[in-house]
Amino acid sequence: MTKKSKIGGLWYEAWLRFKRNKLALVGLIMAISIIVIAIFAPLIVPYDPFEQLIWKEGKEARLAPPSLKHLMGTDIYGRDILSRIIYGARISLQIGIFASIVSLIIGVPLGAMAGYIGGVVDDLISWLINVVFAFPFLLFVLAVIAVFQSPSLRIVYIAIGLVNWVGIARVVRAQFMSLRDREFVEAAKALGLPRRKIIFKHILPNAIAPVIVQATLGMGGIIMTEAGLAFLGFGAQPPTPSWGLMISEGQKYLSIGKWWWAIFPGLAIMYTVLAFNFLGDGLRDALDVRLKR
């Protein structure tokens, strides 16, 4: 059996296992639903998420409770909350994906070098990982954001990525360390294959699985981090319909019983994070067992 088909076969087996896991399938469907909502947002929204209705409709449109007209109510400017939540999916996914990419760009090479080369390089990189880990996460991100004087969505996900890469790096490092001593790598070395080829063609495909799991599970964490940042006022800028920002803007009105502005976005966050958690769990169960062989 050639190496390619062996790997191909293993992936296929993982997929079968994944299918059998009910929760994983639910997660997949939920994740797809969010992506679809994000992509087709302009077509689905009942109202313009940025239109402030109070200037036309006056006080009645302000902080209106959920009704048939506005399924999730309106905020203080009379903007329809459901429409903003739908658009908010775009923001969350955008941040999740780009911050993940930044994390991967930094984390994978560093983890690989640490795991494969070992020695001083490993010591240095591991030290760096431990330092970043020990640093209080939210503060670190806040400080990085403050350094960039011009806040924007891009700054937010770069800042998150700059701190979040350590999780990926650790996983990659562990994988490379365990894989570099395996038989097929010894075989490749014995054949005299160049180092780069060994890393990219042989180790990396095997190391990818836990990275995928980590990245998927990480999406949830990133989305929650952005929400937390927006809540503190340092995430997406108004009038962007970031879910975290909506919770922050709406919290003032909880005490007078106008709960919809702050509560619905939280449900949206929960739904999204659940999706990626189910997905990630499912992927882990499906792929992990595969690796143990």
Binding site: F135, L139, A146, V147, A227, L254, P265
Partner: protein, 308 residues
């Protein structure tokens, strides 16, 4: 064992130095002059220069760094720019508040989590199992600050069982919501982990052997499975404690809890450099110490692990 601890401690030193240096560099490149902020909105360049000199901010950056390290080694974390309080004093006071919160949150989380995990494992695939695990994964997926707001909405603003947010030492009502808020996530993680560890162990051979011997099922479960499930659970408890202690920033913000996390954010906004550096270093140390304790307790729980 002793040498293991010493090695771990020694290894922590360069990590702390790394943290110290990074926070120093960050504060050096962050825009916003603390002296300027101290002056309020109206600024006079001359007074500003004098205040900066007084704070040592006009020294070249490497000199400031050396001075800072020298003080640090002596245990002097400096004085807050905002109110001249000694950073060490402020940290200890605020840490007490954070500690109280974290302690009760972990107690709640551990008790709830372990119980739920055990029952779920024993009654696998039952309704309890599914609902508990669903609640658990929801708990991990819900943003912590939103959970806090939701609890406030229900118990404070609607049912009026809790007066509101704040910190009144001795009045348990102010503790309830922040403790629950902070404890939800660790409880969920502990429940899930306990469950999966228990499940793993419950299928081990020696359990089957013990059952064959006719021992009462409960004793079987308790003694053998639990002990083995404890290892990873201790890990989680340890890392969660580390997370909680090093700054439950969002929870503290919502509940106006005067803890270390909130102190750090306030200090960052005010560019109170000594306070920022102090809180970051403090939190990093707590984190490392907590992790070290977790590592050590491995040895006591799992006799299979050897330290050399």
């Amino acid at each position: 064992m002793f040498s293991y601890i010493v090695r771990k401690l020694l290894y922590a030193v360069p990590v702390i130095w790394g943290v110290v240096t990074i926070v120093f560099i960050l504060m050096a490149i962050v825009p916003g002059d603390p002296a300027r902020l101290m002056m309020g909105q109206r600024g006079d360049p001359e007074t500003l220069a004098r205040i900066r000199a007084d704070l040592g901010l006009d020294l070249p950056i490497h000199k400031q760094y050396v001075r800072f390290l020298k003080d640090l080694v002596k245990g002097d974390l400096g004085i807050s720019y905002r109110n001249n309080e000694k950073v060490v004093d402020a940290l200890l006071t605020r840490f007490k508040a954070t500690l109280k919160l974290a302690f009760w949150a972990m107690v709640l989380a551990s008790v709830l989590g372990i119980l739920a995990g055990i029952v779920s494992a024993v009654k696998q695939y039952s309704i309890f199992d599914y609902s508990a695990m669903f609640i658990a994964i929801s708990g991990i997926s819900a943003p912590v600050f939103w959970v806090g707001l939701l609890l406030l909405l229900i118990f404070a603003y609607t049912l009026h069982l809790i007066p509101g947010v704040g910190y009144v030492p001795g009045d348990w009502r102010y503790y309830v919501l922040p403790v629950i808020t902070l404890g939800v996530r660790p409880a969920a993680l502990i429940a899930r982990l306990t469950r999966s560890c228990m499940l793993e162990v419950l299928t081990q051979d020696y359990i089957r052997t013990a059952r064959a011997k006719g021992l009462h099922e409960r004793i079987v479960v308790m003694r053998h499975a639990l002990k083995n499930a404890l290892i990873p659970v201790v890990t989680i408890v340890g890392t969660q404690v580390a997370e909680l202690l090093s700054g439950a920033v969002l929870t503290e913000t919502i509940f106006a809890w005067p803890g270390v996390g909130r102190l750090a954010v306030e200090a960052l906004i005010a560019r109170d450099f000594p306070m920022i550096r102090g809180t970051v270093i403090f939190m990093a140390i707590i984190f490392l110490v907590a992790n070290l304790i977790v590592d050590i307790s491995y040895g006591f729980i799992d006799p299979r692990i050897r330290y050399d």
